[in-house]
């Protein structure tokens, strides 16, 4: 058998409650967890839920009636897909030629790996070891085609042990024949069609296909797609798979001749690394926006320096100057013996045509921002946005600097806050209102603001514009306890 399929029926659930807990006390009535899909039906459940009588396909209401304490989680196919790809990456250590089949299966092409492992037993052992560390539920089966293996794995076929499955062939056809059409990956309508012709098992369909004109007639009546799928399951035809490809990353390390003690002295060796990186990126026509420098010490401890540019860059000078700025504020925690440069996310280059007559600017605003960020730290630079909220403290917010390219656009959603321009608001708002301690003369008011009852910071205040003895114009308010505060100053 050439193909191995691993099916993970509970990817999401397994990340919510790890396998080991479940195995410990399968009888407990607490701790039942189910995953429900968009139609409020149970699609994954753990052992405690099973013990309470909950079954897949049940509605949430029924499940909770069976077990009051059942916790439920919404199904997240995106998460499962990402997790499956992670698993593929992990399995890549053991096996090349891995393909991902929606929504929850990995297909391995075994025959290619046998040269490396010698026999199937060793290969499977190594694969199992890698998977065991992940604490997941999975089902495995072999087949003469990817889809056959997948279908058998999903159906939970296990009456023949895996090694025997690999070695022998006679077990495969009976196993496939015994499958019900509902266990195939076909649409409900196709399933109904087959069943209502009395073809309730794959074996029935196979014997039909073997008759003369059987294939033609089936295709005519039930569609070529179905015939195609059946052919793939039955091994008559194997469509090439899209194999998993690990992502491109740049990683390079160097050992230093002798320990370096100061951060500035790092610049020279790193310059080399950056130049190699530039060449690598140039070959692939990519840029990077984030770099990591891992500095290892004698004892094996590692210090990580992260570098981010405001724009994707590959020029080593640019990165070097950024690094220089960054290193001014970095203290080495230990003498450095090795340096490793990692660029984990490669971005494809945007082709930009440059007009040779355009005056070249020294640096663009985004480059300036990049330098400021490198110098002061990411947290020191912020944008201000208007927010819709009646409470003055919440009428605006700070946010992190937008990424490259977004600075240019205006904040379209602020336009309808322009009605704020009508209202009286001070130029300076105190972060914390100050109790009023002087005499004032009220010029305008009250403006009553009563809002935010749903949050931790409800506001119930009467605001006034007032003038004090020094002719300053203040924004004061009186709260629900009739205490007076100053909240801001008008220009």
């Amino acid at each position: 058998m050439r193909w191995l399929a691993l099916v993970f029926p509970q990817l999401q659930l397994d990340s919510v409650c790890p396998v080991t807990e479940q195995v410990q006390n399968p009888d407990a009535t607490t701790g039942a967890v189910v995953v429900i899909d968009g139609g409020q039906q149970v699609c994954q459940l753990n052992a405690q839920a099973m013990a309470a009588g909950i079954r897949p396909g049940m509605k949430l209401g029924t499940a909770s009636a069976l077990n009051r304490d059942v916790s439920f989680v919404q199904h997240d196919p995106g998460f499962e897909r990402a997790r499956a790809l992670e698993l593929a990456e992990i399995c890549y250590q053991v096996s090349a030629n891995i393909a991902f089949l929606e929504p929850d299966a990995l297909i391995f092409e075994v025959s290619g790996m046998l040269k490396l492992y010698g026999c199937f037993k060793h290969y499977w052992r190594d694969l199992q070891q890698v998977l065991a560390a992940q604490t997941l539920h999975y089902k495995a089966a072999l087949g003469h085609s990817p889809l056959a293996a997948c279908v058998l794995a999903r159906a939970g076929f296990c009456s023949v042990p895996l090694e025997q499955q690999f070695a022998q062939e006679g077990w495969l056809m009976p196993a496939l024949d015994a499958l019900q059409v509902g266990q195939l990956d076909i649409t409900p309508r196709q399933q109904a069609q087959l069943e209502r012709l009395g073809l309730s098992r794959l074996g029935h369909v196979r014997s039909l296909l073997q008759k003369s004109k059987g294939r033609k007639e089936l295709a005519q009546r039930l569609g070529r797609e179905l015939l195609d799928y059946l052919d793939q399951v039955l091994g008559h035809h194997i469509r090439p798979l899209d194999y998993f490809r690990p992502e491109d990353v740049f990683r390079q390390s160097i050992l230093l001749e002798h320990e370096l003690h100061t951060s500035q002295s790092l610049l020279f060796p790193v310059k080399n690394l950056l130049q190699h990186m530039q060449a690598y990126l140039q070959r692939r026509a990519c840029r990077v926006q984030h770099l990591r420098l891992l500095l290892s010490g004698r004892e094996g401890d590692t210090q990580v320096i992260a570098l981010s540019g405001a724009e994707p860059e590959r020029a080593s000078e640019v990165w070097l100057s950024l690094l220089q700025l960054k290193l001014e504020s970095v203290q080495l925690s230990a003498p450095v013996t090795a340096v490793r440069l990692e660029a984990l996310k490669l971005l494809e280059e945007h082709v930009c045509t440059q007009d040779i007559f355009e005056p070249v600017r020294a640096s663009s605003p985004s480059q300036l921002l990049g330098r400021l960020q490198a110098r002061l730290g990411d947290e020191a630079l912020k944008c201000v946005h208007l927010q819709g909220d009646h409470r003055p403290e919440h009428a605006f917010r700070y946010s992190a600097l937008p990424k490259y390219g977004e600075l240019k656009e205006g904040y379209a959603d602020d336009s309808h806050y322009s009605k704020c321009s009508l209202s009286l608001r001070p130029s300076l708002l105190f972060e914390v209102p100050v109790p009023l301690s002087e005499g004032i003369r009220i010029v305008h008011g009250p403006e009553r603001i009563q809002s935010g009852w749903w949050s931790d910071t409800p506001v119930c205040r009467d605001y006034f514009v007032a003038r004090n003895t020094e002719q300053q114009t203040l924004w004061v308010f009186r709260d629900a306890q009739r205490h007076w505060f100053v909240h801001g100053l008008f220009a």
Binding site: L60, L66, S212, K213, Q387, Y417, P446, R448
Partner: protein, 1044 residues
């Protein structure tokens, strides 16, 4: 110190904006000392009648209008707020009846031109208004305001004001802008007086959170996301006078009083005229009515009219004339005559319907000799109640009656009453929870698990036990806001069938708007509003059993040449053979008495005559059950208990039901004769009973009832018991008059089932969906009554089920029709029938040549309709799937049949296909198949239960076809198990259910081990052990109907 009148006020009938009920606004305005309040919902008059009803009910004291102590009665003004297309906003008020009609017309035009829930109004629409008052809220930008002000002055000279609404928000003043001075200037420039108002959205500021949440629901987002779309504060509430004094200058407040002064329109003065064309030229309505009654008398009483009946007719006609209800009867008469001409079966019901006048007008078929025993009540003069007639029509043809009414009177003069759809617990919790940002699945979880019928634990307490953290602020908001919003209106929908028909345009009486259904219009008031104002509506309702009966009559006429009508059957008087069947609970398919609960009651009550049926129908309802009337009645009927009456008056009321109050009328009558309630008070009691769940107002009657009865010499115990019975009755007490009409149909259907079973089952099956049972259950009942049933056949069947003559000597069978086949289109059937040769198809090739849709052919194949032509339905389906022969060019190619031969289905598979394709299997039953396969044994069949002794052990197995948890039954669930010989009633107590939850909740085939309980002929199995056997039949398609 002047008073104040609030002239701009929205109730919660401005859906999802107003946060208070109209009643609350009225009562609060009065409590604050306002002189008047105007309810001005947005483009709507939907809330004004409730405000008016509150005004009447609260009996408010007059309000002081000035220092000198002069007082005036508190006033309700009606009007509407409109947002014009040009961006301006006005409030229109109605000072007089004509202005009110103008406003209603404008609202109607604005709403009718848009789809439901929207409106559009332009300046031109308002120009025709000569009397309405206009209050204008300017946009505060001079370019737009000046021209509009000129337009106002041109068209509404002397009756326009500028509105100043000071809401202490950011719009009051801004950079270089001040609203007050702007309005002063504007008013001076364009010569318009300024008036103060509040833009009231709630009656008190506490409602601000609710108003915010309603906005969130309306805009479909969370309340935290609304930002500036919320109001900045709680000033949109009714404010006390001293505060208003500080906010507004005196002259502007005084202006409100001047406006209020001009408004003299009282809603109570609304009347409408009936369509005159109903009465022929030269006759008065009374004369015409009398004429029709006289004509009817000769038809209905061919043997002559007794003196007693003549006297009754005279009395009734006099009463009708005194109260001015002639048109009402004439309208109803006209409608039923239309139905009669078209052959649509109908039946009137209700207290007025059971009068002799109605019998003569052929509105009902209840023979007055039977009515004699009923209460006279038909119109109660002292209670000033409008007559109560509902007319049921065949449900499949009611639409024709609707169209007749619309055609005859036109869309401007006829419209349906509205129904107010309001927030109930589920929608309230979900809406509020979503607005507060709670997870939707969690909300669903709470809703699923809260038992609304749990009397001891309110839903608030149940929420806590479901894991809602009571301490968190969000939860507290959730609970409080849900409590507040339950009962709030959400939108208007059309009433089931209540029509208002007037002589002039309806839109001068009440605004008319579009319903969701095409070609339907509704008025903005519901049936309670109409009753408050004393306006009459005609109820045109639908009843499935009428369709079934009419079809049976047609079939009987066709096949046996006998012409029957409902009146013909009732004239035959009580037939003991028919009653004998009912006493044995052989009532599947019989109107009103076929449910499981009714079937348990029939052998106990043993109805022998018409009036027994009337009682039977009314007694098996939550009201009498909860009020504990059922057992006393049965005991007295069987002589186990003595009947005694505390007084002559009580005897007169309760004698017909052996001293136990069963009907709503009895309770009302007792309140009047035994506790001294006046007509009006009794009417209030009736309304409180009808809406008890919503308003909980019954308690206030308790004191009056008990005291009144004690005064008249009754025992306290008797009085208290009666009150408890009333509470138990609640909204479920059935009126005797309705029960009487239903009893007629029950008897007729039982009669048909006994004498013409084939026609009966046929008519019933052709009228589905209706009734309590599925086609499968009805057919099994038919088979048990020795009816021969023939399956769907491509050569024999029609679309409907038919009675078919068999070749061997005079016998007949019920032939199932194509309508039973799932997935078969009506069009496909028509095509098939068109092309079917007289002697039928003789081969599959011929059928395929008909070029029917592939899906239709597949459906027919799976239903085994080709059984005569192709032995095996799998093969037939396989053959049908091939559409190569559709193309005419290739028909010769298709001549060779498919080379593939599929094996024939076995019994199991046949059964599955039967259920999948038609829901019915004539050849097998799952239980018999299971037995033959050896999967089950040692159980008792349904027909053998009668042989077992009371309290003996038994094991039964069946398909779960019914699960009922009636609220009156304290956590008990009734299962109906169907085996191959009949139905078994299983009682599952709460504890049993809890201990075996999985089987209880999910089993489709259930094995029950329990104890037999026999009471006479009524047999139940009390469940002990439940075992789910569904895994034995994984693919069976039986659908269990859950009545919860």
């Amino acid at each position: 110190m002047t008073g104040y009148a609030e002239l701009h006020c929205l109730s919660n009938f401005t859906f999802l904006r107003g946060a208070s009920h109209p009643e609350e606004l009225v009562s609060q305005a009065h409590a604050l000392g306002y002189c008047a309040v105007a309810i001005t919902d947005e483009c709507s008059m939907a809330g004004v009648v409730r405000a008016y009803a509150a005004l009447k009910a609260l009996d408010l004291s007059p309000v002081a209008t000035d220092h000198a102590g002069k007082t005036e009665p508190f006033k309700l003004i009606v009007g509407t707020e409109l947002n014009l297309e040009c961006g301006q906003k006005v409030v229109l008020l109605a000072p007089c009846r004509t202005a009110y009609a103008e406003i209603c017309r404008v609202i109607t035009v604005a709403r009718r031109r848009c789809e439901k829930g929207q409106y559009r109004v332009a300046r031109a629409d308002l120009e025709q208004m000569e009397n309405a008052l206009v209050l204008w809220l300017p946009t505060l930008s001079s370019e737009q305001d000046e021209p509009f002000a000129h337009w106002l002055n041109d068209h509404f000279q002397g009756r326009t004001w500028l509105l100043y609404e000071r809401l202490l928000d950011a719009h009051e003043a801004g950079a270089g802008f001040n609203k007050r001075s702007y309005l002063c200037d504007l008013g001076a420039r364009v010569q318009l007086p300024v008036c103060a108002a509040g833009n009231v959205h709630m009656h008190c500021p506490d409602r601000q959170p609710l108003q915010d949440v309603l906005t969130a629901i309306r805009l479909n987002c969370q309340v935290q996301e609304l930002g500036l779309k919320l109001y900045a504060n709680a000033e949109h509430a009714m404010r006390p006078l001293h505060k208003l004094r500080k906010l507004y200058p005196e002259s502007w407040r005084a202006e409100t009083l001047k406006i209020a002064e001009r408004c003299q329109f009282d809603l109570g003065s609304l009347r409408y005229e009936y369509p005159r064309e109903l009465v022929p030229e030269g006759l008065s309505p009374s004369r015409y009515l009398k004429q029709l009654v006289e004509q009817g008398m000769t038809r209905r009483f061919p043997q002559g009219v007794s003196l007693q009946i003549q006297r009754t007719i005279r009395q009734e006609l006099t009463l009708i004339q005194e109260q001015g209800y002639e048109y009402f009867f004439l309208t109803t008469y006209d409608i039923v005559q239309f139905a009669k001409r078209r052959g649509i079966l109908y039946q009137g019901r209700g207290s007025a319907a059971n009068s002799v006048v109605c019998y003569c007008l052929e509105i009902t078929s209840v023979d007055p000799r039977q009515i004699d025993v009923l209460f006279e009540r038909f119109i109660s003069k002292e209670r000033n109640e409008p007559p109560d007639i509902d007319v049921d029509f065949e449900h499949q043809r009611r639409e024709e009656v609707f169209q007749y009414i619309y055609q005859k009177y036109g869309r401007t003069r006829a419209a349906l009453a509205a129904t107010v759809i309001s927030f109930k617990f589920k929608s309230a919790l979900r809406g509020i929870g979503k607005a507060l940002g709670m997870n939707e699945s969690r909300l669903d979880y709470y809703i699923k698990n809260i038992n609304r019928r749990d009397r001891e634990l309110g839903w608030e307490v149940q929420l806590a036990s479901l894991g809602l953290d009571q301490q968190s602020p969000v939860s507290r908001h959730l609970v409080r806001l849900t409590q507040e919003v339950i009962g709030f209106p959400r939108h208007l929908s059309q009433h089931v069938g209540g029509f208002i028909i007037s002589s002039g345009p309806l839109s001068e009486l009440v605004p008319v708007e579009n319903a969701a259904m095409a070609e339907r219009t509704v008025i903005q008031w519901d049936k309670d509003d109409l009753e408050t104002l004393g306006l009459l509506k005609v109820d045109v309702l639908a009843l499935g059993m009428l369709s079934a009966i009419r079809r049976s009559f047609d079939m009987i006429r066709q096949r046996y040449g006998r012409v029957l009508s409902i009146a013909d059957i009732t004239r035959l008087q009580d037939d003991p053979a028919v009653y004998a069947r009912l006493q044995q609970a052989d009532s599947i398919g019989v109107f009103q008495v076929e449910s499981r609960a009714q079937m348990s009651m029939l052998p106990r009550l043993k109805p022998r005559c018409y009036y027994d049926l009337v009682i039977q129908i009314a007694i098996v309802r939550p009201g009498p059950i909860q009020g504990d009337m059922v057992h006393p009645y049965l005991r007295r009927r069987s002589g186990k208990e003595e009947v005694d009456y505390p007084s002559k008056e009580v005897r007169a009321v309760l004698e017909r039901t052996l001293g136990v109050p069963i009907f709503q009328e009895q309770v009302i009558k007792l309140a009047m004769v035994a506790a001294g309630f006046s007509g009006g008070e009794a009417d209030q009691l009736r309304r409180a009973m009808a809406s008890w769940k919503k308003t909980g107002q019954l308690q206030q009657f308790r004191h009056k009832l008990v005291a009144g009865m004690r005064e008249r010499g009754y025992e306290t115990e008797f009085a208290e018991r009666l009150f408890q019975q009333i509470c138990g009755f609640g909204e479920y007490g059935f009126p005797e008059s309705h029960s009487a009409s239903f009893a007629v149909l029950a008897y007729v259907s039982a009669w048909l089932k006994h004498y013409y079973p084939l026609a009966f089952y046929c008519g019933l099956l052709n009228s589905l969906p209706m009734g309590f049972y599925s086609p499968s259950q009805l057919l099994q009942d038919a088979v048990r009554h020795d009816v021969l049933v023939r399956p769907v056949c491509v050569n024999q069947s029609q679309y409907d089920h038919q009675v078919e003559a068999l070749e061997e000597g005079g016998k007949e069978a019920l032939r199932l029709g194509f309508r039973l086949v799932r997935g078969l289109s009506r069009k496909g059937v028509e095509q098939l029938l068109e092309q079917r040769p007289d002697q039928g198809f003789d081969g599959m090739a011929q059928i395929q040549a008909c070029a029917l849709d592939k899906r239709d052919l597949e459906a027919l194949a799976s239903a085994n309709a080709f059984a005569g032509l192709s032995g095996n339905r799998y093969q037939a389906r396989w053959d049908m799937l091939d559409d190569a022969c559709k193309v005419p060019m290739f028909t010769h190619l298709a001549a060779d049949a498919s080379a593939i031969q599929l094996p024939a289905p076995d019994d199991w598979q046949n059964l599955q296909e039967d259920y999948a394709s038609t829901g019915v299997s004539l050849t097998h039953h799952p239980i018999s198949l299971l037995r033959c396969a050896g999967c089950i044994d040692g159980y008792t069949r349904s027909t053998e239960l009668a042989k077992l002794a009371h309290k003996s052990w038994v094991k039964v197995v069946g398909v779960v076809t019914g699960k009922q948890s009636p609220g009156s039954a304290a956590g008990v669930t009734f299962f109906t198990l169907e085996d191959d010989t009949g139905n078994i009633n299983v009682v599952v107590w709460k504890a049993t259910a809890r201990a075996q939850k999985q089987a209880y909740l999910t089993a489709r085939i259930l094995e029950v081990v329990g104890i037999v309980e026999k009471e006479g002929e009524v047999i139940h199995v009390i469940a002990g052990r439940l075992q789910d056997l569904s895994h034995l039949m994984a693919d069976l398609d039986t659908r269990s109907r859950d009545f919860h």
